[in-house]
């Protein structure tokens, strides 16, 4: 099939796409956008999280055919040109990036969280990011980055106002 979709605001087309391959494969292997990662292929790790019609989903479980004419947003589209987005900047500042393989999916999930819940509590952050596994950082830095991003976005992160946050 010929797949037409909008990725990061740009209309894109891929030819000879098999309807059953994943949106993730299309992005990575056909459209030259390997930012979204393939780490489990079954929606269990969140590394492939992308926006699909503005809602974060696991791109590995979206069949290409189902992505026809839809709008996709990936980690490559978070920055505004050279200007990093708030979550991207916060992840660097707080040292929330280590091997970097879970990072793209986490950034999309965190970006969505702060959009929906401007002042997330620690419990809300942990639950919202439960679908994004990280094997290196140990999450503490990711929590700090999301709190910082929320603060910089105008919200004051609920219980994360002091070091340590709540002890759930």
């Amino acid at each position: 099939m010929r797949l037409n979709l909008t990725v990061n605001g740009r209309a894109m087309t891929a030819d000879d796409v098999w309807e059953g391959e994943s949106l993730l494969y299309v992005l990575r292997e056909r459209l030259g956008l390997p930012g979204s990662k393939n780490a489990c292929e079954q929606g269990e790790c969140g590394s492939c999280t992308v926006y699909l019609d503005r809602v974060p989903v696991c791109a590995c479980l979206v069949a290409a055919g189902q992505a026809q004419d839809r709008e996709v947003g990936t980690v490559e589209g978070l920055a505004d040109g050279e200007e990093l987005s708030t979550v991207q900047r916060a992840f660097i500042d707080e040292g929330a990036v280590q091997c970097g393989f879970c990072t793209p999916g986490l950034l999309v999930a965190a970006d969505d969280l702060i959009e929906r819940v401007p002042e997330p509590s620690d419990a809300e952050i942990r639950e919202a990011l439960a679908g994004n596994l990280c094997r290196c950082t140990g999450y503490e830095k990711i929590m700090a980055a999301v709190r910082t991003a929320a603060e910089r976005s105008g919200g004051t992160s609920g219980s994360g106002s002091s070091a340590g946050g709540d002890r759930t």
């Binding site: 098999w18 059953g20 391959e21 494969y25 990575r28 390997p34 930012g35 979204s36 990662k37 393939n38 780490a39 489990c40 292929e41 079954q42 269990e44 790790c45 590394s47 980690v75 490559e76 978070l78 920055a79 990093l84 991207q88 992840f91 660097i92 500042d93 707080e94 040292g95 990036v97 280590q98 091997c99 970097g100 393989f101 879970c102 990072t103 793209p104 950034l107 952050i125 942990r126 639950e127 990011l129 439960a130 679908g131 994004n132 596994l133 990280c134 094997r135 290196c136 950082t137 140990g138 999450y139 503490e140 830095k141 990711i142 700090a144 070091a163 340590g164 946050g165 002890r167 759930t168």
Partner: protein
């Protein structure tokens, strides 16, 4: 936890952070290559036997299929003594899931589809995959076979001392098979051309991959390039190249120069890239009335593979940890028809210290002595077995500082008496230790570019730990220039030879190399070098090697809550205080400690590769079945360290921090769970049913 640490400066930010948050850092599978083909492996569905026939007719008819490779048409490789790399060299099957062929096609999906259509017949032979203590399968590894092995230790009279001891513990602990599961699956792109072989590969040592793959194909090392600028985690599983690298390079021999790409599926990673072997460990401790150890016995049994021996010697954790006049330490292996185990974060120490530090807690309970105090009373003055002085040993400082910070002195020692709502609450402690290693043989090139800039090259791999950042800092410091004036190149065989990223020895080994290379550069070119001035040098032998016992230490404190109705276990709070020599970059170092402790929480609560011995494979072989700790499983984790200046370990004073964070964590959590409930669980992981009444 930010803010509550002693570090005054967080350290420079991660150099490749920008590339990683924008999705532009290229991992192995992502290197743009022209006209690639995709590989899907064929794998054995029996645990032992041989392939009797392969019918590839249907697979070859699938649109886009370019090659079906099996032992019938694979070329002969040069035997280099590593059975994992000798793929498709015979019809023999030594474990379930073994690589027995490959399909190469224009797309990943057509390769996978065609692979399903290959018909393979087997002659099945009886297999044994059941880990147990049985004379049929148990043996003593030859201590000369590897530097990781040590012979049994027998000092004094353990049995007599135990008989006379005021307090004793005799307990058996088990740890399960665990898989590394770095987020980035092992991946490789292989392409042959007139110049030789190029591998874009996810590994812990590009030079090591080259040094093994080149002779395997009978080509000069110079004709193999291995490129690995970014690696998405490894934890030991990418330490040695595994069969998939050989298989992909083998397949690429048939594609007329077209690159062949292969990324393992998560499920394949449970069979093809190693694992932490299960252990069964018996620990016997005896102490006098004051809690001083009079006898220590630690006997470990670990699984290995008949296909390829691996031993990590868990019991050796008890050799130099505490003083004890009588001591027996033995390590045994049980050989089975299973995939080969390999190093996994703190191999030996992670499991061994779980057993020893759990036993120490049991001793503290039976002797009625505070567990922190018990450890302090057994602090040795010199390394107990070797008799060597310690290069530095600050375990007592870690324990005292940690106890203070954690609020340990308020602890009521009685188990099972604190309840908040539905939750039983307890706290626990354990010590950590990991050897400070130095791998020789690395070289670095220092080059003065125009405008006061320096180019530093070393063929090390940054597996996500922050090596790129730490080495840039160390180079800048040695050159006495700002960090911005140094451009560091690493991650491939284009750069000078570097040792493996492992053993927590990266910064120590490569940092020393860079610093020594800078010294050599200054000697050769002075402090006002011309543009293009260049020196390549390495670190010499450490004169203190063999003169001192060199280890990092730590103390881990945990608060655990166990649900009284359901047995669910939560870890709302942990504190780790470490003494690990010089901390080069507090920002990336903290993340390493935190990551290690979190993997320790995961080891304590979740990780368990379940082997169905009838089939011989891990049945929960994906991230839905094999749980690693998620964000919601981790509460507040605090990390701090003791300022430690160790002039003996290496020229940069670094002891290594990649592994110690996981050592002791599971014991601290298990000890806290006992304090919460009064139930002593000796088998990891601490799943809810083990606490149900």
């Amino acid at each position: 936890m930010t803010g509550a640490t002693r570090a005054t400066s967080p350290g420079p930010e991660r150099i490749e952070g920008h590339a990683k948050v924008t999705g532009t850092a290229r991992y192995a599978f992502e290197h743009p290559v022209a006209d690639p083909l995709y590989l899907h492996p064929l794998r054995a569905t029996i645990a032992r036997g041989r392939v009797t026939s392969v019918d590839t007719t249907a697979a070859e008819r699938v649109d886009g299929v370019r090659l079906v490779l099996t032992h019938h048409n694979a070329e002969a490789l040069v035997p280099i003594g590593d059975p994992e790399l000798a793929v498709l060299q015979s019809d023999e099957i030594a474990f379930r899931g073994q690589l027995i062929g490959a399909v190469v096609a224009e797309t990943q999906e057509s390769a996978a589809h065609a692979a399903d259509l290959v018909e393979i017949r087997y002659e099945r032979m009886a297999h044994d995959s059941d880990f147990r203590d049985d004379a049929d399968i148990v043996y003593t590894p030859d201590a000369d076979a590897s530097p990781m092995l040590s012979p049994d230790l027998e000092e004094g009279d353990v049995d007599a001392a135990l008989a006379d001891a005021a307090f004793t513990v005799d307990a058996t602990y088990t740890t399960p098979t665990e898989h590394h599961n770095p987020l980035e699956p092992h991946a490789v792109i292989a392409a042959w051309d007139d110049d030789g072989l190029t591998l874009h590969d996810s590994n812990q040592g590009s030079h090591l991959v080259r040094d093994l793959i080149a002779p395997l194909f009978g080509v000069d090392k110079e004709r193999v390039s291995v490129i690995s600028p970014h690696v998405g985690g490894a934890f030991g599983s990418k330490g040695m190249p595994h069969g998939h690298v050989a298989l992909t390079a083998l397949a690429a021999r048939h594609t007329a120069g077209r690159p062949v790409k292969y990324a393992l599926s998560r499920t394949q990673m449970f069979e093809l890239v190693g694992y932490r072997p299960p252990t069964r460990q018996r620990v016997r401790l005896g102490a006098d009335r004051e809690g001083r150890l009079v006898a220590t016995e630690h006997d470990s049994l670990e699984q290995t593979s008949r296909f390829k021996q691996y031993a990590e010697q868990s019991a050796s954790a008890s050799r130099e940890m505490y003083t004890s006049p009588n001591r027996r330490v033995t390590n045994r292996l049980a050989a089975l028809d299973v995939p080969a185990p390999t190093w996994m974060r703190a191999p030996g120490e992670a499991g061994g210290m779980y057993a020893l530090e759990s036993a120490m807690d049991e001793l503290a309970v039976s002797a009625g002595i505070d567990p922190v105090e018990l450890r302090l009373r057994n602090e040795p003055e010199v390394a107990p077995v070797s008799g060597l002085p310690f290069s530095s040993r600050n375990l007592p400082a870690c324990l005292r500082e940690g106890a203070e910070r954690f609020g340990w002195h308020e602890r009521d020692p009685r188990p099972g008496v604190r309840r908040e709502g539905d939750w039983l609450v307890g706290t626990g402690v354990a010590a950590s230790s990991f050897p400070s290693l130095f791998f020789p043989g690395s070289l670095a090139t220092i080059r003065h570019e125009s405008g006061g800039k320096y180019r530093v090259e070393i063929g090390a791999v940054d597996i996500g730990t922050g090596s790129r950042t730490a080495l840039t800092q160390l180079a800048a410091e040695a050159l006495e220039v700002p960090v911005e004036a140094v451009e560091l190149w690493l991650g491939s065989t284009e750069q000078p030879h570097a040792s493996l990223a492992g053993g927590s020895a990266g910064t120590a080994s490569w940092g020393s190399t860079v610093v020594e290379a800078v010294r050599a550069f200054r000697t050769e070119h002075g402090h006002d070098p011309v543009s293009g001035a260049e020196t390549t040098a390495g670190a010499g032998k450490n004169p203190d090697a063999g003169e001192y016992a060199m280890h990092s230490y730590g103390a881990q404190f945990a608060e655990v809550r166990v649900n009284a109705d359901t047995g669910e276990v939560r870890v709302p709070r942990m504190l780790g205080v470490f003494a690990a020599g010089r901390i080069v970059n507090p920002r990336t170092a903290r993340s390493q400690f935190l990551g290690g402790m979190t993997m320790g929480i995961s080891m304590a609560l979740h990780e368990h590769s379940v082997v169905d011995e009838r089939f011989g494979h891990v049945v929960n072989h994906d991230l839905a079945g094999y749980h690693i700790a998620g964000n919601a499983d981790v509460g507040s984790v605090e990390v701090d360290w003791i300022d430690e200046h160790d002039p003996h370990v290496n020229p940069v004073g670094v002891k290594g921090i990649g592994e110690i964070g996981i050592v002791g964590t599971a014991a601290a959590i298990g000890n806290a769970a006992h304090h919460a409930t009064g139930v002593r669980v000796r088998d990891l992981p601490l799943t809810p049913e083990k606490f149900l009444r």
